[in-house]
């Protein structure tokens, strides 16, 4: 298993990476960080970039900082760092819960959050949680920095709102209000460990215990991760009985064009989206109430 021949570049800064992206855009170019999504497809020759720009050595792109408004996570932060970081555990335990379910420990030691979101694998874990958390992507291009709300970021199969000459530099996760609980429920592919279906829920209760706000993110079901808007609408403002949650999460697949492949039929995915959404909401509600 050898990739097609390519030219390797090592970028010293984000600016240099952007220049290299522009320079080699026509010949075919990819950024590489942890390489755990890109290298397998290159070895299978499903991707054959003529140029590879390694951004793994760029200073300042890794690391987690916590502020009053939330977390800023550098693009090169590894899954293992997210899994074990105390600030993440305190401010966004959902991220740690998801990170712990990515691949195995060797993969988590190398793979990065920036690489995962930029690759936009429809079965990756993070997109579901980032949608539920209302995160935003910090990206840098030739004209400087901009932010893209996560709801606008994932647009299709392996496709994001990034321009070809933009680099994801960080992911920002807003601070969660009080009385908020989160949960990620995943059915893993038995071979690859990727999500057949993964559902993340972020639920905020009001003082009476009703649903003040809710966001549900779904990955693995369609060609890109999406919010389960119909289910959210059916829960927002409601008193969260089992019946209400069941009725609402039975609508979690609405609007998703379900994948149908050797790993799961569309019908099975539908039932998993609904069932896992129910489990995620129930768990999130329980955690919200426990605080």
């Amino acid at each position: 298993m050898n990739p097609s021949p390519f030219t390797y570049h090592r970028a010293g800064s984000v600016g240099e990476a952007i220049d290299l992206l522009r320079e080699h855009e026509d010949a075919g170019v990819k950024l590489i960080a942890g390489g755990h999504s890109l290298l397998p497809v290159m070895k299978l020759r499903l991707a054959e970039p003529a140029h590879l720009i390694d951004i793994g050595g760029i200073a300042g792109l890794a690391g987690i900082s916590a502020g009053t408004d939330g977390l800023t996570i550098g693009a090169l932060t590894t899954h293992r760092a997210l899994e074990t970081d105390p600030a993440v555990a305190r401010h966004a335990p959902l991220l740690a819960e998801m990170a712990a379910k990515v691949g195995d420990r060797q993969v988590r030691a190398r793979g990065t959050i920036g690489g995962t979101v930029a690759h936009a694998d429809p079965t990756a874990d993070y997109p579901a949680g980032l949608l539920a958390l209302g995160a935003e992507m910090v990206v840098q291009g030739p004209d400087g920095e901009r932010t893209i709300p996560v709801a606008e970021f994932f647009v299709g199969f392996l496709t994001t709102a990034l321009s070809p000459d933009e680099v994801v530099t960080a992911v920002r996760v807003p601070a969660l209000p009080s009385l908020t609980g989160t949960s990620y429920q995943k059915l893993a592919n038995q071979a690859s460990g990727y999500a057949v279906v993964g559902v993340a829920a972020v639920v905020t209760l009001d003082a009476a215990g009703a649903c003040a706000d809710i966001r549900i993110g779904v990955t693995g079901a369609g060609d890109h991760a999406t919010r389960a808007a119909a289910a959210e609408d059916a829960l927002r403002g409601q008193s969260l009985t089992d019946e209400v949650i069941k009725a609402a999460t039975d609508r979690a697949d609405e609007g998703i064009d379900l994948l149908d492949d050797i790993h799961a039929s569309a019908d099975y995915r539908r039932r998993m989206v609904r069932g896992l959404a129910r489990r995620a909401v129930l768990a999130a509600v329980e955690r919200a109430g426990a605080k």
Partner: protein, 767 residues
């Protein structure tokens, strides 16, 4: 004999250090001057005529030295003058990925670039992927050109396959390459006399052996024209024959060097060696081919899928009256399958006074089918052990008691009429019955778990073997033999030899030699190496011991029977201080002018009666009612091993077999689309039983000694991989009430069944 010192003790594997340190050198680690790396151009179609291969663009790539097609290989005609079997497609490709051309380059990467640049001109033909389609009246042929089907390899795995069923040939449907028929008594009368009958249909998919090291071979032409083949084969002598026949050279001009095997499980007798050898001869340079994982999925030799319909009846008192079955086994595009042994085992674990089994091997446009650890046994066992379990429920009997009432013992007949020799099935059932996991099954059920049991048996294999044992100058002993060590058998042999000499296992070196110098042994398969090569080692060591004692007797001026070997020295019993060391014996027999002959013991065995081994497994499972995921949370494996020369090694064999059985049950299956493209060609798509899927395994060793094996040992490799699928299916049945008959029992399959059952329950509640 005095109390054993070396045998029966847990002994570390002699090859553990280099394996644990990453220092073992496998075939692909070897470097030869002028080595060319080969990569395969595989057929893009499951069935097509190949009209041409255009090499120019590939040959223009820097590093690419040659592109070989069938016409470029030096393939010798067969003994009868007909054309020899070409390992590359000559004109008709019959499965997707079948090697059409070989690109040779100075690096693996250049060879792979070359593969991408080779153009093949195809004329596609219809592909037949389902047995039912292939057998239908008027079906097109899976391959237009037919050749004889060889079952040569099957006979190396079990003694029963070596016999013809002796039946008249019925008129067969299209694309059926072989059929079997076993019959006993009157099944109609048997079913008429029964009080309960269970009939179920089972399917299983192709399962890959999943070895860590993919198929690999390197061949080089020595200066005087001899061929040397380094390979990860399980069967060096068989490999040598096949290579010599392919390229048309005498046997003695081919040396097969059996390299450490990174997992074989039956899939590495011979596959790519004739191709690699022919390529090396064609270009006159060393050639290395190691399949990448995808090539190994596409073009190796996995276990076949099958369909089995099985009906068994019994009377109220729990006596089985009849068995009837129809079996179809995939035999790929090239033919051959373990159908016969599957039938013999399926109808062989219990006493069936009336029995009727018909079976068909069906060609489809899939790769060659091969042996995978207990070939045929998993599929046949899933059927019989599921039906027996269900029948016990129908009769309201305990499944353990029902099995004990009907299980075969020495003298009972197998479907082919052969009587079982001394076996330990009953003792193994009793051992598991007494285990806390079975006794405490109600507690497990109270915790929301299901408990299932299943039997698995293997007839064992036999083949003559020779070993030699020599004394070296340092006073240590070296055993030289021809059997490949797949799983610690050389360590077991060091224990056998050490026992003979009263030495520790670490004082004995065991070498598997290449075919130029090794004494004969058969392939490592069929659970026969310890059983058949072990006695040869034992005799060779005893012969060497007698030679040593005779030298010592003369030297010490004592009678040989008054001597004993202790701690590397020969002493006169009861006379302290009178001794001669093995080192001195070596010196006295291997220096200029010595008066004694060098010590070189020889031992051979030609056992013709196999020692069947039985395992009985218990699986405890939990099921996620939403996702259908099954988790095996406890596993107990009881097995009659005859005698455990190295208990650590025997338990290791059981652990590995259990993991593979769980793979059969829940995870593994190759999946093709209707046009014959393999959809599970990477480990991202094909699920192996990972460490997290396998619980701690409790083992129970049962000792019913074999008549001919060393110290009563039996082959232990095959049995532990057999009952897993049925034990897990029975545990799922116990927990959920659902009888799952298609393996692997993937989450979606079980979730759909759970959902259907829930819907039916709701509907009936509403009535």
């Amino acid at each position: 004999m005095s109390a054993p010192v070396a045998i029966g003790t847990r002994t570390k594997r002699l090859d553990a250090p280099q394996k644990l340190n990453g220092q073992e050198r496998f075939t692909a680690d070897l470097k030869l001057p002028g080595l060319l790396h080969a990569r395969v151009v595989g057929s893009a179609y499951a069935h097509a005529m190949v009209k041409g291969v255009i090499k120019d663009a590939a040959l223009a790539i820097p590093g690419v030295v040659a592109v070989l097609t069938a016409a470029d290989l030096p393939i010798a005609p067969k003994a009868d003058g007909t054309p020899g079997e070409n390992p590359l497609v000559e004109d008709e490709a019959v499965f997707s990925g079948q090697p059409i051309a070989l690109v040779l380059a100075t690096s693996d990467a250049a060879a792979e670039d070359g593969v991408g640049a080779v153009e093949v001109d195809y004329d596609p033909l219809p592909a037949l992927m389902r047995m039912s389609e292939a057998m239908a009246e008027g079906a097109p042929m899976v391959r237009l050109k037919t050749s004889e089907v060889s079952d040569e390899e099957a006979s190396m795995h079990n003694a029963d396959a070596a016999q013809d069923s002796g039946e008249e040939r019925e008129t067969l449907p299209p694309n059926v390459s072989n059929s079997i028929h076993f019959s006993r008594g009157d099944v109609a009368a048997g079913f008429a006399a029964s009080d309960a009958v269970v009939e179920l249909s089972f399917t299983s998919q192709e399962v890959h052996q999943g070895y860590l090291e993919t198929q690999v071979a390197m061949a080089t032409v020595e200066p005087l024209g001899d061929l040397r083949v380094y390979t990860s084969t399980q069967a060096a002598f068989y490999c040598r024959t096949r290579v010599a026949e392919t390229v048309g050279v005498p046997l003695h001009r081919v040396d097969v060097v059996p390299m450490p095997v990174g997992g074989g499980f039956g899939g590495k007798f011979v596959l790519i060696e004739p191709l690699v050898a022919a390529a090396a001869v064609a270009v006159g340079r060393p050639v290395l081919l190691q399949f990448n994982r995808m090539e190994d999925f596409l073009a190796a030799n996995p276990a076949p899928g099958c369909e089995i319909t099985l009906k068994v009846g019994a009377t109220k008192d729990g006596t089985i009256t009849a068995l009837e079955s129809r079996m179809t086994f995939e035999s790929g595009a090239l033919g051959g399958s373990p159908l016969q042994i599957a039938a013999i085992l399926m109808g062989g674990y219990y006493r069936f006074p009336n029995l009727e089994i018909r079976g068909y091997e069906v060609l489809t446009n899939r790769s060659k089918m091969g042996a995978y650890r207990a070939p045929g046994a998993q599929q046949g066992t899933l059927a019989i052990e599921s039906v027996i379990d269900e029948l016990a429920r129908e009769l309201g009997m305990d499944p353990m008691a029902f099995r004990l009432q009907n299980c075969v013992v020495e003298g009972d007949a197998r479907p082919n009429g052969n009587a079982w020799p001394r076996i330990g099935l009953r003792q193994t059932l009793e051992a598991l019955e007494a285990h806390p996991a079975w006794q405490g099954r109600e507690e497990a059920r109270a915790k929301g778990r299901g408990v299932g049991i299943a039997v698995g048996g293997w007839p064992g294999g036999v083949e003559p073997a020779t070993a030699v044992c020599r004394l070296d100058a340092d006073g240590k002993m070296t055993v030289v033999l021809g059997s490949v060590d797949l799983n610690g058998t050389n360590t077991t042999f060091s224990q056998i030899a050490a026992e003979t000499f009263g030495l520790g296992a670490e004082d004995i070196t065991v070498k598997t030699a290449s075919t130029d110098s090794a004494p004969y042994a058969g392939g490592t398969g069929g659970s026969k190496v310890t059983y058949t090569v072990g006695p040869a080692v034992q005799k060779a060591a005893e012969d060497a011991r007698q030679q040593i004692l005779s030298i010592a007797a003369e030297h010490l001026e004592a009678a040989a029977e008054d001597l004993e070997i202790i701690d590397g020295a020969i002493r006169v019993k009861g006379v302290p201080g009178v001794s001669v060391s093995l080192r001195e014996i070596a010196s006295m027999s291997m220096t200029v002018g010595s008066r004694f002959e060098p010590v070189y013991g020889k031992g051979s065995s030609a056992i013709t009666e196999s020692a069947p081994g039985f395992a009985v497994h218990l699986a405890e499972v939990e099921v996620d009612e939403l996702t259908g995921e099954t988790k095996v949370v406890r596993y107990v494996a009881a097995q009659d091993v005859g005698y455990a020369i190295n208990p650590a090694s025997v338990e290791g064999q059981i652990h590995g077999g259990v993991a593979q059985g769980i793979g059969w049950a829940l995870y593994e299956g190759m999946h093709y689309d209707d046009s014959g493209q393999l959809l599970t060609a990477t480990l991202m798509d094909y699920a192996l039983p990972k460490a997290e899927y396998v619980p701690p395994i409790e083992t129970i060793l049962v000792h019913v000694p074999s008549e001919h094996g060393p110290y009563g040992a039996k082959g232990v490799g095959e049995p532990p991989s057999i009952p897993g699928a049925a034990a897990v299916a029975n545990a799922i049945r116990d927990l959920t009430g659902l009888r799952m008959t298609d393996i692997p029992i993937r989450p979606e399959r079980l979730a759909a069944a759970l959902d259907a059952a829930e819907t039916a329950r709701t509907a009936s509640a509403a009535d």
